[in-house]
């Protein structure tokens, strides 16, 4: 734990954004996280809008945490993973609870990583961790900067390791994150957060 920032010791929610290569990257992280994690994980992965969401199905079978597709107004629970439904923005409202919207596309995307990150930062403030992974566009950079401005912790995937480096690289231009890490280290960090909660 101590090789990671002390800022990470009190986290209520983790928001993760990814685009191209996102499913592969998440597959190396999410299945390892114990169900004891005392934080909720909310995830935006850019997927084609017309397809039914397969993400929650794919990860439900692999993960120890409870995996769901976010439903409007549902209470956000620790130990649960929520995926944004295709063609909806995923936001966090006071409660904390899920808020969905069909507002205009942001950076050509709905769901948008920026929309999730900014609304989550408004609710969780410095008890939020933002994680930005592989992707071929610049969604998420503004959201990561906003999380940092609200006192939250930020982790950007090492761009040289990402299947598509544009997204993490754009974030590194927008802010100096708490950590720049490879996927295995991001996994270890999240596992250590759960271990800390369990002890």
């Amino acid at each position: 734990m101590n090789r990671f920032s002390a800022q990470l010791s009190r986290i209520d929610a983790i928001v993760i954004g990814a685009s191209a290569g996102g499913v592969e990257a998440l597959s190396r992280i999410l299945p390892e996280i114990p169900a004891t994690l005392a934080a909720a994980i909310l995830i935006v992965v850019h997927v084609p809008r017309e397809r039914p969401s397969l993400l929650s199905g794919i990860f439900r079978a692999k993960c120890r945490m409870r995996v769901e597709e976010a439903i409007d107004k549902a209470q956000i629970m620790p130990g649960h993973i929520y995926f944004a439904p295709p063609d909806y923005h995923l936001l966090v409202d006071a409660g904390p609870q899920v808020a969905l919207s069909v507002d205009e596309l942001i950076q050509y995307s709905r769901p948008s990583i920026d929309v999730l990150f900014e609304s989550a930062a408004d609710i969780y403030g410095n008890r939020l961790l933002g994680v930005l992974l592989t992707g071929g566009n610049e969604d998420g950079a503004a959201g990561m900067a906003y999380i940092a401005a609200c006192g939250g912790a930020t982790i950007v995937q090492e761009p040289s390791e990402a299947i598509a480096a544009t997204m993490p690289a754009a974030a590194l231009k927008a802010l100096t994150p708490t950590h720049v890490l490879r996927l295995d280290d991001i996994r270890d960090l999240l596992v250590s957060l759960a271990a800390k909660t369990a002890s």
Partner: protein, 275 residues
């Protein structure tokens, strides 16, 4: 700007809008409202919501512009084609049994769903005995809905959705292309009434066999959702149908017991008798 100041300003702002213009956003879900207002601020050359509030109070002409930021939805025809397929399967056979039909599209914005339903009912032979009410709080959107003119660039998507919705014909049978627009048939419009109605402040205005309100409730907090679903329950005849958005749920509503689930996946419900 930081969240804490904005959180102080937001309730004051919506209260001011309500008192001055009688539009009630006080029970809207804050997350989306915040995002929309943050987008609007630079367009109105304001650095804070307090500044925008000041301008709104003293420059009444601004409000109409702001209303578009707060309310206009870019909808599409036959959005979620499976929903319309479910209507053909579960709802249309029952609608056939009524001599005349009233349908309410609540929060219709620029009318895409109203035209979609009119076309579906035309194909099912029911439109001639149907009146569809499209209601919204935005007068600009309602005028666009009444006109039934959509940018031709959007028609490819609408047609594709239509084909996946169980269409009998091609969408082009229902519009004429002119000057970069698709103009929908007057014969469809004869069966539509568009009017100003607020789910936050107005009441029930007619008895309906079917209410469709999709991706509107997501913008409301639970209190306002309850009010809206209560209106739908009161507007529906016994055994009338309610359709909501694919990621919305009645589960959190106080009126959950007033409905049975007809198609869980496509969010089609039916009003049942309650003690």
């Amino acid at each position: 700007m930081m969240s804490s100041e904005f959180d102080i300003e937001l309730p004051l702002f919506v209260e001011a809008v309500f008192r001055k213009y009688h539009y009630d956003f006080r029970e809207y879900a804050p997350a989306s409202l915040k995002r929309r207002l943050r987008t609007a601020l630079p367009r109105f050359a304001c650095a804070s919501l307090s500044q925008l509030q000041h301008r709104l109070l003293y420059e009444p002409n601004l409000f109409n512009q702001l209303l578009d930021y707060l309310t206009v939805q870019m909808s599409e025809m036959f959005r979620d084609p499976e929903y319309f397929r479910a209507l053909r399967t579960h709802v249309v056979p029952v609608l056939r049994t009524y001599p005349s039909l009233k349908i309410w599209v609540a929060g219709c914005s620029t009318g895409e769903e109203v035209y979609s339903l009119a076309i579906l009912l035309r194909e099912e032979g029911l439109l001639k005995r149907t009146l569809i009410y499209g209601t919204d709080i935005n007068p600009h959107a309602l005028r666009k809905a009444e006109a039934g003119v959509y940018d031709i660039d959007r028609i490819a998507l609408f047609s594709q959705n239509f084909q996946r919705s169980g269409a009998h014909a091609s969408l082009s049978s229902y519009y004429t292309a002119a000057y970069g627009n698709a103009v929908f048939d007057a014969s469809l419009k004869k069966h539509m009434v568009f009017s100003d109605h607020s789910l936050a402040t107005d009441s029930v205005f007619a008895e309906m066999q079917f209410v469709s309100c999709r991706n509107v409730l997501i913008y409301f907090n639970r209190t306002l959702q309850d009010r809206a679903v209560g209106l739908f329950r009161d507007a529906l005849c016994l055994r009338g149908f309610l359709g909501i958005g694919a990621k919305e749920s009645l589960r959190f509503s106080t009126h959950y017991d007033a409905f049975e689930t007809i198609d869980a996946e496509n969010r089609v419900y039916r009003k049942i008798a309650t003690p």
